[in-house]
Symmetry: C2
Subunit: 295 residues, 2 copies
């Protein structure tokens, strides 16, 4: 609970005090960069647990959070954001900065523009690229964002002080901040996150419904384990992600369909050389990524 | 180097003394179930390293290995097996049991039948479902097969003592042995191993060649890492696996294509309910597999 004499964020509110929101509050607190933490939980039970864990100082309503905060992080599922912002908008302090943590950004930006009008520049859509399978306030971890990338997609007219406050807050959590436009963000995520999830789910469905599935699955090893791990993710969360990033995901799936067809063609024709060249390009790209990403 | 007074395998030969062959020899030795280990390396350098590491007692020719051994494990790439068996066949002791460790079995069974004729029952095709990215004699690990499954695909007329010797040898390495017919093995592997590798490679190729690949890849996280890990595997090895299991892989790819199309259809129609139901079935299947497999 140590705070500097003048913390970066005098009053922080987190809406949704689970893995994402709770970790943000905990990291800012560890860094001594927050004065008071207000919390709006999704249920009485999770709110009480968040308070008992010391993640928030005070449980408040959405209206109170809007009226009192310097910075608000919306860490609810993307589908809940319109309702939350609708209830907050009449009460927002003019210098308050609002952000979110959803996996798609064009839809959040459009929603902010629609609900907040001129004041939409107070809302900076954001996406911390971090997470885990764990959920709830108990999963909150002050180190969750250490070394991770957070993408922010401010509006053109978003004032520099607002960008600066949010950037510094994420940096205080140990993250690197990167600005992008929301469409570029969504295309990138379709390519490197949403399509892998889509494929892993389609594949896992096919394998588990095929003839002799039980025998086959009993023989699956660590390659299968890693390839399908993401398919275990929340169906509700991923349904919303696919629907809100539908156009970009479908475009990537078209490209992928061509790539699968080309690789398949080399196998159908028994063209050993082209098959190997394709596999080699993929292997080299993956090894290069591995050495660059450090993951 | 401890041996029981009467070890299960008085004389063992391993052809190819790397991860697979070296680990087999080391595990049998640790279990005190082998008398003398003969080795046939793929190169002078790897043979010398295998001997220096104590994996083999003596370096021999293929002909000597055939004439002296009770059990021979061929741990070379599948493509090298016909040549190796061709050179050994005239010298094989009549009670010697030969096996291999390749990822496909119908092709190995056909090759054994063709090269050995009546004596093909001395050859029991096998596939230890274990491995790692590491290669060479230095990667040999006596614990590699602990708790793993080894599939054997004996011919109908393979005598019980031959099946028993090989089964006991693998069990002495800590593995579970399962008998299957070679076609069933190849279909299972197409489903749970070869198709994931095919997909991961096609996807990695597509992502790395697409517009803004560098920006996209710089944002990829742990989900991407795990989904694509297998795409880094050896292009030569996987080329041979795909070609030798071509029919089964193509059949699985047909089924997968339908599953991708069905999931894609729910997204195109924005059928949230069907999309979620599909994702849920996959998530439940994956979670069930995770709890059953213990992986």
């Amino acid at each position: 609970m140590s705070t500097t004499p003048s913390p970066l964020v005098p009053v922080l509110a987190v809406v949704g005090i689970g893995l994402i929101g709770g970790s943000f509050a905990a990291a800012l607190r560890d860094a001594g960069q927050v004065g008071r933490v207000l919390g709006v939980g999704r249920s009485k039970s999770s709110s009480d647990r968040a308070q008992a864990l010391g993640l928030v100082d005070e449980l408040v309503t959405l209206e109170e959070a809007a009226a009192r905060s310097d910075l608000i992080l919306l860490a609810t599922p993307v589908g809940a954001i319109p309702d939350v912002v609708g209830r907050m908008q009449a009460h927002l302090r003019p210098d308050c900065v609002v952000s979110d943590a959803g996996s798609t950004k064009a839809d959040v930006a459009a929603m902010a523009r629609e609900l907040l009008g001129e004041r939409c520049t107070q809302f900076i859509p954001g996406h911390p690229i971090a997470g885990s399978e764990a959920v709830g306030p108990e999963a909150a971890d002050p180190h969750l964002y250490q070394g991770r990338t957070v993408i922010l997609t401010p509006f053109e007219r978003t004032p520099a002080p607002a960008r600066r406050l949010l950037t510094r807050a994420w940096e205080a959590c140990g993250a690197r901040v990167q600005f992008m436009d929301p469409q570029a963000h969504d295309r990138a995520m379709a390519s490197i996150s949403h399509v892998p999830h889509f494929l892993a789910a389609a594949y896992m469905g096919q394998v588990s419904r095929s003839a002799n599935a039980d025998v086959h699955l009993s023989l699956a090893g660590t390659g299968f384990r890693d390839f399908t791990r993401i398919a275990a993710g929340s169906p509700e969360v991923w349904r919303d992600i696919f629907l809100s990033n539908r156009a970009a995901v479908l475009r990537e799936l078209d490209e992928l369909d061509e790539a699968i067809g080309a690789l398949r063609g080399t196998l159908e024709r028994e063209d050993a050389q082209a098959l190997e060249a394709n596999l080699e390009q993929a292997a080299l790209a993956r090894r290069l990524w591995g050495s660059r990403s450090g993951l």
